[in-house]
Amino acid sequence: MAKERKVPALIDNPMSFCAGCGHGIVIRLVAECIEELNQQDNIIFPIGVGCSSLLGGGMVADRLHCPHGRAASVATGMKRVTPDTTIITYQGDGDAYNIGISESLNAAYRNENITVITINNTNFGMTGGQMSWTSLPDQKTTTSPKGRDSGATGLPFRFPEMVAGQFDVAYAARGTVTSPKNVNKLKKYIKNGLEAQINGEGYSIIEVLSPCPTNWGLNPVKAMEQIEEQLIPYYPLGVFKNRKEKQDA
Protein backbone atom coordinates (compact mmCIF):
# COMPACT_ATOMS: atom_id res chain seq x y z
CA MET A 1 0.00 0.00 0.00
CA ALA A 2 1.28 3.37 -0.92
CA LYS A 3 2.31 5.50 2.03
CA GLU A 4 1.86 9.20 1.55
CA ARG A 5 4.73 11.45 2.35
CA LYS A 6 3.53 14.94 2.97
CA VAL A 7 4.57 17.87 5.06
CA PRO A 8 3.09 17.62 8.56
CA ALA A 9 0.29 20.06 9.26
CA LEU A 10 2.38 21.49 12.08
CA ILE A 11 4.61 23.29 9.63
CA ASP A 12 2.70 23.17 6.37
CA ASN A 13 3.24 26.82 5.57
CA PRO A 14 5.64 28.63 3.30
CA MET A 15 8.74 29.71 5.19
CA SER A 16 11.00 32.52 4.20
CA PHE A 17 14.38 30.81 4.22
CA CYS A 18 16.69 31.38 1.29
CA ALA A 19 16.56 28.90 -1.60
CA GLY A 20 18.43 25.74 -0.67
CA CYS A 21 18.70 26.58 3.03
CA GLY A 22 18.79 23.45 5.16
CA HIS A 23 16.45 24.80 7.84
CA GLY A 24 13.38 23.73 5.91
CA ILE A 25 14.44 20.10 5.82
CA VAL A 26 15.28 19.99 9.51
CA ILE A 27 12.05 21.64 10.50
CA ARG A 28 10.12 19.11 8.47
CA LEU A 29 11.97 16.23 10.15
CA VAL A 30 11.26 17.65 13.58
CA ALA A 31 7.60 17.97 12.69
CA GLU A 32 7.50 14.41 11.36
CA CYS A 33 9.01 13.08 14.57
CA ILE A 34 6.55 15.08 16.65
CA GLU A 35 3.67 13.59 14.69
CA GLU A 36 5.05 10.08 14.91
CA LEU A 37 5.51 10.47 18.65
CA ASN A 38 2.03 11.94 18.89
CA GLN A 39 3.22 15.13 20.49
CA GLN A 40 1.46 17.62 18.19
CA ASP A 41 -0.69 18.87 21.03
CA ASN A 42 2.03 18.77 23.61
CA ILE A 43 4.86 20.82 22.27
CA ILE A 44 6.48 24.19 22.86
CA PHE A 45 9.36 25.61 20.85
CA PRO A 46 11.63 28.15 22.48
CA ILE A 47 13.22 29.58 19.35
CA GLY A 48 16.57 31.27 18.96
CA VAL A 49 17.47 34.49 17.21
CA GLY A 50 18.92 34.32 13.74
CA CYS A 51 17.64 32.47 10.71
CA SER A 52 16.22 29.93 13.15
CA SER A 53 13.70 32.53 14.23
CA LEU A 54 12.07 32.30 10.83
CA LEU A 55 10.63 29.01 12.08
CA GLY A 56 8.31 31.07 14.22
CA GLY A 57 6.59 32.49 11.20
CA GLY A 58 5.72 29.16 9.65
CA MET A 59 4.63 26.77 12.36
CA VAL A 60 1.31 25.96 13.94
CA ALA A 61 2.44 25.31 17.49
CA ASP A 62 3.30 27.10 20.70
CA ARG A 63 6.53 28.97 20.35
CA LEU A 64 8.40 31.72 22.08
CA HIS A 65 11.07 33.83 20.50
CA CYS A 66 13.78 33.89 23.12
CA PRO A 67 16.44 36.51 23.65
CA HIS A 68 19.53 35.74 21.61
CA GLY A 69 21.28 32.66 22.97
CA ARG A 70 18.89 32.07 25.87
CA ALA A 71 16.63 29.37 24.47
CA ALA A 72 18.01 26.65 26.74
CA SER A 73 17.29 28.75 29.83
CA VAL A 74 13.82 29.66 28.62
CA ALA A 75 13.27 25.97 27.92
CA THR A 76 14.37 25.17 31.45
CA GLY A 77 11.77 27.48 32.91
CA MET A 78 9.13 25.93 30.70
CA LYS A 79 10.09 22.36 31.46
CA ARG A 80 10.25 22.83 35.20
CA VAL A 81 6.68 24.12 35.38
CA THR A 82 5.24 21.80 32.72
CA PRO A 83 7.36 18.67 32.96
CA ASP A 84 5.01 16.64 30.75
CA THR A 85 5.19 18.99 27.82
CA THR A 86 7.80 18.36 25.14
CA ILE A 87 10.15 21.33 24.90
CA ILE A 88 12.39 21.71 21.87
CA THR A 89 14.78 24.59 21.40
CA TYR A 90 15.55 25.51 17.83
CA GLN A 91 18.68 27.56 17.44
CA GLY A 92 21.58 28.38 15.17
CA ASP A 93 25.26 28.00 15.94
CA GLY A 94 25.78 31.73 16.58
CA ASP A 95 22.88 31.75 19.00
CA ALA A 96 23.64 28.51 20.84
CA TYR A 97 27.43 28.44 20.82
CA ASN A 98 28.48 32.10 20.86
CA ILE A 99 26.29 34.46 22.84
CA GLY A 100 24.34 31.56 24.33
CA ILE A 101 27.19 29.24 25.25
CA SER A 102 26.60 29.69 28.96
CA GLU A 103 22.90 28.88 28.73
CA SER A 104 23.52 26.01 26.29
CA LEU A 105 26.30 24.51 28.34
CA ASN A 106 24.51 24.83 31.63
CA ALA A 107 21.33 23.18 30.43
CA ALA A 108 23.49 20.22 29.44
CA TYR A 109 25.35 20.46 32.73
CA ARG A 110 22.10 20.16 34.68
CA ASN A 111 21.02 17.38 32.30
CA GLU A 112 17.86 19.40 31.87
CA ASN A 113 15.13 17.26 30.32
CA ILE A 114 14.81 19.18 27.06
CA THR A 115 15.76 18.66 23.43
CA VAL A 116 18.09 21.09 21.73
CA ILE A 117 18.29 21.32 17.95
CA THR A 118 21.15 23.44 16.68
CA ILE A 119 21.55 24.32 13.02
CA ASN A 120 25.25 24.70 12.38
CA ASN A 121 25.90 26.57 9.15
CA THR A 122 29.29 27.91 10.26
CA ASN A 123 28.23 31.55 10.28
CA PHE A 124 25.72 34.12 11.51
CA GLY A 125 23.30 33.78 8.63
CA MET A 126 20.62 36.33 9.41
CA THR A 127 22.94 39.26 9.89
CA GLY A 128 24.82 38.60 6.70
CA GLY A 129 27.42 35.97 7.38
CA GLN A 130 29.72 36.95 10.21
CA MET A 131 32.21 34.50 11.65
CA SER A 132 30.86 32.12 14.26
CA TRP A 133 32.75 29.75 16.51
CA THR A 134 31.90 26.98 14.07
CA SER A 135 33.46 28.77 11.12
CA LEU A 136 36.22 26.72 9.57
CA PRO A 137 39.88 27.72 9.69
CA ASP A 138 40.54 30.25 6.92
CA GLN A 139 36.82 30.60 6.18
CA LYS A 140 36.17 34.07 4.80
CA THR A 141 33.29 35.83 6.48
CA THR A 142 32.34 39.46 6.84
CA THR A 143 34.20 39.63 10.15
CA SER A 144 37.11 37.49 9.03
CA PRO A 145 37.67 39.10 5.66
CA LYS A 146 41.10 37.48 5.24
CA GLY A 147 39.86 34.10 6.42
CA ARG A 148 39.41 32.87 9.96
CA ASP A 149 42.65 32.99 11.93
CA SER A 150 42.17 30.02 14.23
CA GLY A 151 45.27 30.85 16.21
CA ALA A 152 43.69 34.05 17.47
CA THR A 153 40.00 33.19 17.34
CA GLY A 154 39.81 29.47 18.14
CA LEU A 155 39.23 26.26 16.26
CA PRO A 156 35.82 25.00 15.09
CA PHE A 157 33.71 24.53 18.18
CA ARG A 158 32.28 21.03 18.74
CA PHE A 159 29.47 21.34 21.21
CA PRO A 160 27.89 17.87 21.08
CA GLU A 161 31.28 16.27 21.67
CA MET A 162 31.97 18.67 24.52
CA VAL A 163 28.78 18.02 26.44
CA ALA A 164 28.90 14.31 25.72
CA GLY A 165 32.44 14.19 27.05
CA GLN A 166 32.07 16.49 30.03
CA PHE A 167 28.56 16.08 31.35
CA ASP A 168 26.06 13.40 32.13
CA VAL A 169 23.63 14.10 29.26
CA ALA A 170 21.11 11.69 27.80
CA TYR A 171 21.81 11.96 24.10
CA ALA A 172 24.11 13.89 21.77
CA ALA A 173 24.45 13.51 18.04
CA ARG A 174 25.34 15.33 14.86
CA GLY A 175 23.70 14.82 11.51
CA THR A 176 23.36 16.60 8.22
CA VAL A 177 20.96 17.11 5.31
CA THR A 178 23.25 16.54 2.37
CA SER A 179 21.62 13.42 0.98
CA PRO A 180 18.47 11.37 1.39
CA LYS A 181 20.47 8.88 3.39
CA ASN A 182 21.81 11.52 5.75
CA VAL A 183 18.41 13.14 6.05
CA ASN A 184 16.90 9.83 7.10
CA LYS A 185 19.70 9.23 9.58
CA LEU A 186 19.24 12.71 11.00
CA LYS A 187 15.58 11.97 11.51
CA LYS A 188 16.52 8.97 13.64
CA TYR A 189 18.75 11.21 15.75
CA ILE A 190 16.00 13.73 16.23
CA LYS A 191 13.56 11.02 17.15
CA ASN A 192 15.97 9.59 19.68
CA GLY A 193 16.41 13.02 21.19
CA LEU A 194 12.69 13.51 21.54
CA GLU A 195 12.14 10.03 22.89
CA ALA A 196 14.84 10.64 25.48
CA GLN A 197 12.95 13.70 26.65
CA ILE A 198 9.56 12.01 26.63
CA ASN A 199 11.01 9.18 28.70
CA GLY A 200 12.55 11.64 31.15
CA GLU A 201 16.11 10.57 30.38
CA GLY A 202 17.43 14.13 30.35
CA TYR A 203 19.14 16.51 28.00
CA SER A 204 19.39 15.70 24.31
CA ILE A 205 21.11 17.68 21.59
CA ILE A 206 21.09 17.15 17.86
CA GLU A 207 23.36 19.40 15.86
CA VAL A 208 22.75 19.62 12.14
CA LEU A 209 25.35 20.61 9.59
CA SER A 210 23.27 22.74 7.29
CA PRO A 211 24.07 24.69 4.14
CA CYS A 212 23.96 28.47 3.90
CA PRO A 213 24.10 28.99 0.14
CA THR A 214 23.58 32.75 0.42
CA ASN A 215 26.46 33.52 2.75
CA TRP A 216 28.71 30.81 1.44
CA GLY A 217 28.23 32.24 -2.05
CA LEU A 218 27.41 28.82 -3.49
CA ASN A 219 24.39 27.41 -5.21
CA PRO A 220 22.35 25.02 -3.07
CA VAL A 221 23.72 21.84 -4.62
CA LYS A 222 27.31 23.05 -4.30
CA ALA A 223 26.63 24.10 -0.74
CA MET A 224 25.65 20.53 0.10
CA GLU A 225 28.89 19.34 -1.46
CA GLN A 226 30.74 21.87 0.63
CA ILE A 227 29.36 20.21 3.75
CA GLU A 228 30.50 16.79 2.60
CA GLU A 229 33.93 17.96 1.59
CA GLN A 230 34.79 20.75 4.02
CA LEU A 231 32.60 20.55 7.10
CA ILE A 232 32.38 16.85 7.90
CA PRO A 233 36.15 16.50 8.35
CA TYR A 234 35.85 19.01 11.21
CA TYR A 235 32.43 17.96 12.36
CA PRO A 236 32.10 14.19 12.28
CA LEU A 237 28.59 12.82 11.97
CA GLY A 238 27.26 10.34 14.47
CA VAL A 239 26.09 9.76 18.00
CA PHE A 240 28.44 11.00 20.73
CA LYS A 241 26.33 9.99 23.66
CA ASN A 242 23.81 7.24 23.22
CA ARG A 243 20.74 6.72 25.32
CA LYS A 244 21.36 4.31 28.16
CA GLU A 245 18.63 1.88 27.15
CA LYS A 246 19.98 1.91 23.63
CA GLN A 247 23.44 1.06 24.82
CA ASP A 248 22.08 -1.76 26.96
CA ALA A 249 20.02 -3.12 24.10
Binding site: G56, R63, L64, R80, T82, S102
Partner: protein, 353 residues
Protein backbone atom coordinates in the same frame (compact mmCIF):
# COMPACT_ATOMS: atom_id res chain seq x y z
CA UNK B 1 1.36 37.98 68.14
CA UNK B 2 3.61 38.41 65.16
CA UNK B 3 7.30 37.73 65.52
CA UNK B 4 10.34 39.52 64.25
CA UNK B 5 11.04 38.41 60.71
CA UNK B 6 13.68 39.46 58.22
CA UNK B 7 12.44 41.47 55.26
CA UNK B 8 13.85 39.17 52.60
CA UNK B 9 12.48 36.10 54.31
CA UNK B 10 9.07 37.65 54.77
CA UNK B 11 9.00 38.71 51.14
CA UNK B 12 9.99 35.22 50.03
CA UNK B 13 7.33 33.58 52.17
CA UNK B 14 4.75 36.09 50.92
CA UNK B 15 5.70 35.11 47.38
CA UNK B 16 5.18 31.46 48.27
CA UNK B 17 1.75 32.34 49.65
CA UNK B 18 0.97 34.34 46.51
CA UNK B 19 1.37 31.11 44.59
CA UNK B 20 4.83 31.43 43.12
CA UNK B 21 5.44 28.21 41.26
CA UNK B 22 8.92 28.94 40.00
CA UNK B 23 11.97 30.83 41.15
CA UNK B 24 15.25 31.17 39.32
CA UNK B 25 18.06 33.44 40.35
CA UNK B 26 21.64 34.01 41.30
CA UNK B 27 23.05 35.04 44.70
CA UNK B 28 23.83 38.68 45.25
CA UNK B 29 23.80 40.66 48.48
CA UNK B 30 21.50 42.07 49.83
CA UNK B 31 18.85 40.00 48.06
CA UNK B 32 20.33 36.55 48.62
CA UNK B 33 18.16 35.45 51.54
CA UNK B 34 15.18 35.44 49.19
CA UNK B 35 16.67 32.70 47.06
CA UNK B 36 18.18 30.91 50.03
CA UNK B 37 14.79 30.72 51.67
CA UNK B 38 13.06 29.58 48.51
CA UNK B 39 15.73 26.96 47.77
CA UNK B 40 14.30 24.95 50.62
CA UNK B 41 10.74 26.17 50.70
CA UNK B 42 9.63 25.72 47.09
CA UNK B 43 10.72 22.09 46.70
CA UNK B 44 9.04 21.37 50.04
CA UNK B 45 5.76 22.41 48.40
CA UNK B 46 6.48 20.54 45.17
CA UNK B 47 7.25 23.73 43.30
CA UNK B 48 10.37 24.60 41.36
CA UNK B 49 13.55 26.35 42.38
CA UNK B 50 16.54 26.66 40.05
CA UNK B 51 19.82 28.23 40.99
CA UNK B 52 20.74 29.67 37.64
CA UNK B 53 24.34 29.88 36.51
CA UNK B 54 23.92 33.61 35.94
CA UNK B 55 21.59 36.55 36.28
CA UNK B 56 20.94 36.46 32.56
CA UNK B 57 19.99 32.81 32.63
CA UNK B 58 17.80 33.35 35.68
CA UNK B 59 15.58 35.97 34.09
CA UNK B 60 15.26 33.83 30.98
CA UNK B 61 14.17 30.82 33.01
CA UNK B 62 11.56 33.08 34.55
CA UNK B 63 10.49 34.05 31.05
CA UNK B 64 9.98 30.40 30.18
CA UNK B 65 7.95 29.63 33.29
CA UNK B 66 5.90 32.81 32.87
CA UNK B 67 5.18 31.92 29.25
CA UNK B 68 3.64 28.69 30.48
CA UNK B 69 1.25 30.62 32.66
CA UNK B 70 2.68 30.16 36.12
CA UNK B 71 3.68 32.71 38.70
CA UNK B 72 7.41 33.11 38.31
CA UNK B 73 9.80 35.19 40.34
CA UNK B 74 13.37 36.32 40.42
CA UNK B 75 15.23 38.66 42.72
CA UNK B 76 18.55 40.42 42.60
CA UNK B 77 20.36 43.65 43.35
CA UNK B 78 22.71 46.17 41.79
CA UNK B 79 24.58 44.85 38.76
CA UNK B 80 22.48 41.69 38.88
CA UNK B 81 19.42 43.65 37.85
CA UNK B 82 21.45 45.41 35.16
CA UNK B 83 22.18 42.04 33.62
CA UNK B 84 18.47 41.24 33.53
CA UNK B 85 17.53 44.24 31.41
CA UNK B 86 17.53 42.37 28.12
CA UNK B 87 15.28 39.71 29.61
CA UNK B 88 12.92 42.16 31.25
CA UNK B 89 12.53 44.04 27.98
CA UNK B 90 11.81 40.75 26.18
CA UNK B 91 9.29 39.60 28.78
CA UNK B 92 7.61 42.97 28.47
CA UNK B 93 7.58 42.72 24.72
CA UNK B 94 6.01 39.28 24.81
CA UNK B 95 3.46 40.65 27.29
CA UNK B 96 4.17 37.98 29.82
CA UNK B 97 3.59 38.47 33.53
CA UNK B 98 6.22 38.04 36.19
CA UNK B 99 7.66 39.75 39.22
CA UNK B 100 11.26 40.92 39.54
CA UNK B 101 12.41 41.93 43.01
CA UNK B 102 15.17 44.51 43.16
CA UNK B 103 16.60 44.82 46.65
CA UNK B 104 18.40 48.03 45.78
CA UNK B 105 21.98 48.47 46.84
CA UNK B 106 23.94 51.65 46.44
CA UNK B 107 26.37 52.44 43.74
CA UNK B 108 27.35 52.35 40.14
CA UNK B 109 29.13 49.32 38.79
CA UNK B 110 29.90 46.67 41.35
CA UNK B 111 28.32 48.95 43.89
CA UNK B 112 28.31 48.63 47.63
CA UNK B 113 26.16 46.84 50.17
CA UNK B 114 24.56 50.05 51.41
CA UNK B 115 20.82 50.36 51.17
CA UNK B 116 19.74 52.77 48.48
CA UNK B 117 17.19 53.97 45.94
CA UNK B 118 19.67 54.71 43.20
CA UNK B 119 17.95 52.48 40.63
CA UNK B 120 14.82 54.65 40.48
CA UNK B 121 15.29 55.88 36.91
CA UNK B 122 16.08 52.43 35.61
CA UNK B 123 13.09 50.74 37.22
CA UNK B 124 10.54 53.44 36.40
CA UNK B 125 11.69 53.98 32.82
CA UNK B 126 13.08 50.61 31.87
CA UNK B 127 16.80 50.00 31.50
CA UNK B 128 16.38 47.71 28.55
CA UNK B 129 15.83 48.73 24.98
CA UNK B 130 12.59 50.28 23.87
CA UNK B 131 9.47 51.95 25.21
CA UNK B 132 8.22 49.35 27.69
CA UNK B 133 7.45 50.20 31.29
CA UNK B 134 7.19 48.03 34.36
CA UNK B 135 4.76 48.55 37.19
CA UNK B 136 6.96 49.47 40.15
CA UNK B 137 5.91 48.79 43.73
CA UNK B 138 7.86 50.36 46.57
CA UNK B 139 6.92 49.24 50.08
CA UNK B 140 7.85 51.16 53.22
CA UNK B 141 7.74 48.28 55.69
CA UNK B 142 7.90 44.53 55.86
CA UNK B 143 4.16 44.43 56.44
CA UNK B 144 3.47 46.50 53.36
CA UNK B 145 5.93 44.40 51.39
CA UNK B 146 4.20 41.12 52.19
CA UNK B 147 0.82 42.69 51.54
CA UNK B 148 1.97 43.88 48.10
CA UNK B 149 3.30 40.56 46.89
CA UNK B 150 0.00 39.07 45.71
CA UNK B 151 -1.02 42.40 44.12
CA UNK B 152 2.35 42.45 42.38
CA UNK B 153 1.39 39.28 40.53
CA UNK B 154 -2.23 40.29 40.06
CA UNK B 155 -1.18 43.55 38.41
CA UNK B 156 1.36 41.77 36.26
CA UNK B 157 -1.29 39.36 35.07
CA UNK B 158 -4.07 41.88 34.69
CA UNK B 159 -1.98 44.02 32.35
CA UNK B 160 0.40 41.37 31.08
CA UNK B 161 3.38 43.37 32.22
CA UNK B 162 6.41 42.96 34.43
CA UNK B 163 6.06 44.14 38.00
CA UNK B 164 9.27 45.35 39.57
CA UNK B 165 9.08 44.97 43.29
CA UNK B 166 11.59 47.62 44.25
CA UNK B 167 12.67 47.53 47.82
CA UNK B 168 15.85 48.61 49.52
CA UNK B 169 18.75 46.75 51.04
CA UNK B 170 17.70 47.98 54.46
CA UNK B 171 14.17 46.61 54.10
CA UNK B 172 15.50 43.27 52.92
CA UNK B 173 17.96 43.02 55.80
CA UNK B 174 15.94 44.51 58.65
CA UNK B 175 13.49 42.68 60.88
CA UNK B 176 10.17 43.72 62.27
CA UNK B 177 6.97 41.85 63.02
CA UNK B 178 4.48 41.27 60.23
CA UNK B 179 1.33 39.31 59.60
CA UNK B 180 1.83 37.11 56.60
CA UNK B 181 -0.95 36.95 54.02
CA UNK B 182 -3.00 33.82 53.42
CA UNK B 183 -2.09 31.24 50.81
CA UNK B 184 -3.72 31.63 47.43
CA UNK B 185 -3.78 29.23 44.53
CA UNK B 186 -3.71 31.25 41.35
CA UNK B 187 -4.99 29.80 38.11
CA UNK B 188 -2.72 29.25 35.16
CA UNK B 189 -3.20 32.21 32.79
CA UNK B 190 -5.54 31.60 29.88
CA UNK B 191 -2.94 33.04 27.53
CA UNK B 192 -0.28 30.60 28.56
CA UNK B 193 1.61 28.33 26.24
CA UNK B 194 0.30 24.85 27.02
CA UNK B 195 1.64 22.81 24.15
CA UNK B 196 -1.70 22.86 22.33
CA UNK B 197 -1.42 26.21 20.57
CA UNK B 198 -4.62 27.44 22.15
CA UNK B 199 -3.10 30.86 22.65
CA UNK B 200 -2.16 31.98 19.17
CA UNK B 201 1.11 33.77 19.26
CA UNK B 202 2.72 34.55 15.96
CA UNK B 203 6.35 34.94 15.10
CA UNK B 204 8.42 38.04 15.62
CA UNK B 205 8.48 38.79 11.93
CA UNK B 206 4.72 38.91 11.55
CA UNK B 207 3.92 41.69 13.93
CA UNK B 208 2.67 45.17 13.26
CA UNK B 209 4.84 47.51 15.25
CA UNK B 210 2.63 50.54 14.67
CA UNK B 211 -0.48 48.77 15.94
CA UNK B 212 1.46 47.48 18.89
CA UNK B 213 2.74 50.95 19.70
CA UNK B 214 -0.81 52.23 19.89
CA UNK B 215 -1.81 49.30 22.10
CA UNK B 216 1.20 49.89 24.33
CA UNK B 217 0.24 53.51 24.90
CA UNK B 218 -3.34 52.49 25.62
CA UNK B 219 -2.16 49.92 28.11
CA UNK B 220 0.06 52.46 29.82
CA UNK B 221 -2.77 54.98 29.94
CA UNK B 222 -5.08 52.41 31.49
CA UNK B 223 -2.53 51.52 34.15
CA UNK B 224 -1.94 55.17 34.93
CA UNK B 225 -5.67 55.67 35.26
CA UNK B 226 -6.38 52.66 37.45
CA UNK B 227 -3.35 51.64 39.40
CA UNK B 228 -1.83 54.62 41.15
CA UNK B 229 -1.22 53.86 44.80
CA UNK B 230 0.06 56.19 47.42
CA UNK B 231 -0.29 57.30 51.01
CA UNK B 232 -0.49 60.96 51.85
CA UNK B 233 -1.05 63.16 54.82
CA UNK B 234 -1.61 66.84 55.60
CA UNK B 235 -1.51 67.79 51.93
CA UNK B 236 -4.72 69.86 51.82
CA UNK B 237 -3.28 72.84 53.65
CA UNK B 238 0.41 72.20 53.13
CA UNK B 239 2.81 74.93 52.09
CA UNK B 240 5.38 72.28 51.33
CA UNK B 241 4.80 68.65 50.48
CA UNK B 242 7.48 66.04 50.91
CA UNK B 243 7.54 63.19 48.42
CA UNK B 244 9.43 60.04 49.33
CA UNK B 245 8.90 56.30 48.90
CA UNK B 246 10.11 53.15 50.60
CA UNK B 247 11.95 53.48 53.90
CA UNK B 248 12.75 57.14 53.25
CA UNK B 249 9.00 57.59 52.72
CA UNK B 250 8.34 56.05 56.11
CA UNK B 251 11.00 58.17 57.75
CA UNK B 252 9.61 61.33 56.16
CA UNK B 253 6.22 60.66 57.74
CA UNK B 254 7.92 60.90 61.11
CA UNK B 255 9.67 64.12 60.10
CA UNK B 256 6.38 65.61 58.90
CA UNK B 257 4.78 64.73 62.21
CA UNK B 258 7.51 66.56 64.07
CA UNK B 259 7.55 69.53 61.71
CA UNK B 260 3.78 69.87 62.07
CA UNK B 261 4.23 69.89 65.83
CA UNK B 262 6.76 72.65 65.33
CA UNK B 263 4.16 74.63 63.42
CA UNK B 264 5.27 74.05 59.83
CA UNK B 265 2.49 73.44 57.36
CA UNK B 266 4.03 70.45 55.66
CA UNK B 267 2.51 67.31 54.22
CA UNK B 268 3.71 64.19 52.48
CA UNK B 269 2.97 61.97 49.55
CA UNK B 270 4.44 58.50 49.74
CA UNK B 271 4.22 56.77 46.35
CA UNK B 272 3.51 53.06 46.70
CA UNK B 273 3.53 52.71 42.94
CA UNK B 274 6.37 54.75 41.52
CA UNK B 275 5.19 53.71 38.08
CA UNK B 276 2.45 54.60 37.51
CA UNK B 277 3.46 57.68 39.43
CA UNK B 278 0.66 58.79 41.80
CA UNK B 279 -0.36 61.96 39.97
CA UNK B 280 -3.77 61.72 41.59
CA UNK B 281 -2.13 62.19 44.95
CA UNK B 282 -0.83 65.55 43.75
CA UNK B 283 -4.33 66.64 42.77
CA UNK B 284 -5.31 66.63 46.43
CA UNK B 285 -2.57 69.04 47.35
CA UNK B 286 -3.27 72.60 48.45
CA UNK B 287 -3.61 74.69 45.28
CA UNK B 288 -1.30 77.28 46.81
CA UNK B 289 1.44 74.86 47.73
CA UNK B 290 4.82 76.54 47.62
CA UNK B 291 6.90 73.57 46.71
CA UNK B 292 7.57 69.86 46.67
CA UNK B 293 10.58 68.29 48.35
CA UNK B 294 11.82 64.81 47.62
CA UNK B 295 13.81 62.84 50.14
CA UNK B 296 15.82 60.17 48.34
CA UNK B 297 18.59 57.69 48.98
CA UNK B 298 20.48 58.39 45.77
CA UNK B 299 23.49 60.48 44.87
CA UNK B 300 22.00 62.58 42.12
CA UNK B 301 18.27 62.91 42.78
CA UNK B 302 16.03 60.88 40.53
CA UNK B 303 12.56 60.87 42.08
CA UNK B 304 12.60 64.64 41.81
CA UNK B 305 12.21 64.39 38.03
CA UNK B 306 8.87 62.64 38.37
CA UNK B 307 7.79 65.02 41.07
CA UNK B 308 8.68 68.03 38.92
CA UNK B 309 6.95 66.57 35.87
CA UNK B 310 3.86 65.71 37.88
CA UNK B 311 3.77 69.13 39.52
CA UNK B 312 4.03 70.65 36.06
CA UNK B 313 1.13 68.60 34.83
CA UNK B 314 -1.11 69.08 37.86
CA UNK B 315 -0.41 72.75 38.56
CA UNK B 316 -0.90 74.11 35.09
CA UNK B 317 -1.26 77.74 35.97
CA UNK B 318 2.07 78.23 37.66
CA UNK B 319 5.48 76.75 38.17
CA UNK B 320 5.71 75.02 41.55
CA UNK B 321 9.36 74.40 42.45
CA UNK B 322 10.74 71.01 43.39
CA UNK B 323 13.68 70.41 45.69
CA UNK B 324 15.60 67.23 46.25
CA UNK B 325 17.18 66.11 49.51
CA UNK B 326 19.55 63.24 48.70
CA UNK B 327 21.00 61.22 51.55
CA UNK B 328 22.92 59.14 48.95
CA UNK B 329 22.44 55.84 50.79
CA UNK B 330 20.92 54.41 53.94
CA UNK B 331 17.66 55.49 55.50
CA UNK B 332 17.49 59.22 56.06
CA UNK B 333 16.98 60.14 59.70
CA UNK B 334 14.14 62.42 60.73
CA UNK B 335 16.81 64.98 61.46
CA UNK B 336 18.13 64.77 57.90
CA UNK B 337 14.74 65.70 56.54
CA UNK B 338 14.15 68.45 59.07
CA UNK B 339 17.59 69.95 58.52
CA UNK B 340 17.03 69.87 54.79
CA UNK B 341 13.70 71.57 55.20
CA UNK B 342 15.36 74.28 57.26
CA UNK B 343 17.96 74.82 54.55
CA UNK B 344 15.22 75.18 51.98
CA UNK B 345 13.36 77.67 54.19
CA UNK B 346 16.59 79.61 54.57
CA UNK B 347 17.19 79.65 50.81
CA UNK B 348 20.37 77.67 51.25
CA UNK B 349 19.35 74.99 48.79
CA UNK B 350 18.47 75.70 45.20
CA UNK B 351 15.47 73.97 43.76
CA UNK B 352 16.20 71.16 41.28
CA UNK B 353 13.39 72.35 38.97
Amino acid sequence: MADMIKGNVAIAEAAVRAGVQFYAGYPITPSTEIMEYLSGRLPELGRSFVQAESEVSGINMVMGAAACGFRALTASSGPGISLKQEGISCISDEELACVVINVVRYGNGLGTLYSSQCDYFRETRGGGNGDYRCIVLTPESIQEAVDLMAPAFELAEKYRIVTVFMTEGALGQMMEPCVLPDFIEPERHSWALNGKYTYKKIGIFDRNSMTEAVALNEKHALIKENEQRWESGHVEDADYVFVAYGLPGRSVKGAVKELRKEGHKVGFIRPITTWPFPENGFKEVNQNVKGFITVEASATGQLVDDVALTAKRVFRERNVPAWSLCCVYGVPSLKFTKDGFARIMNNELKEAY
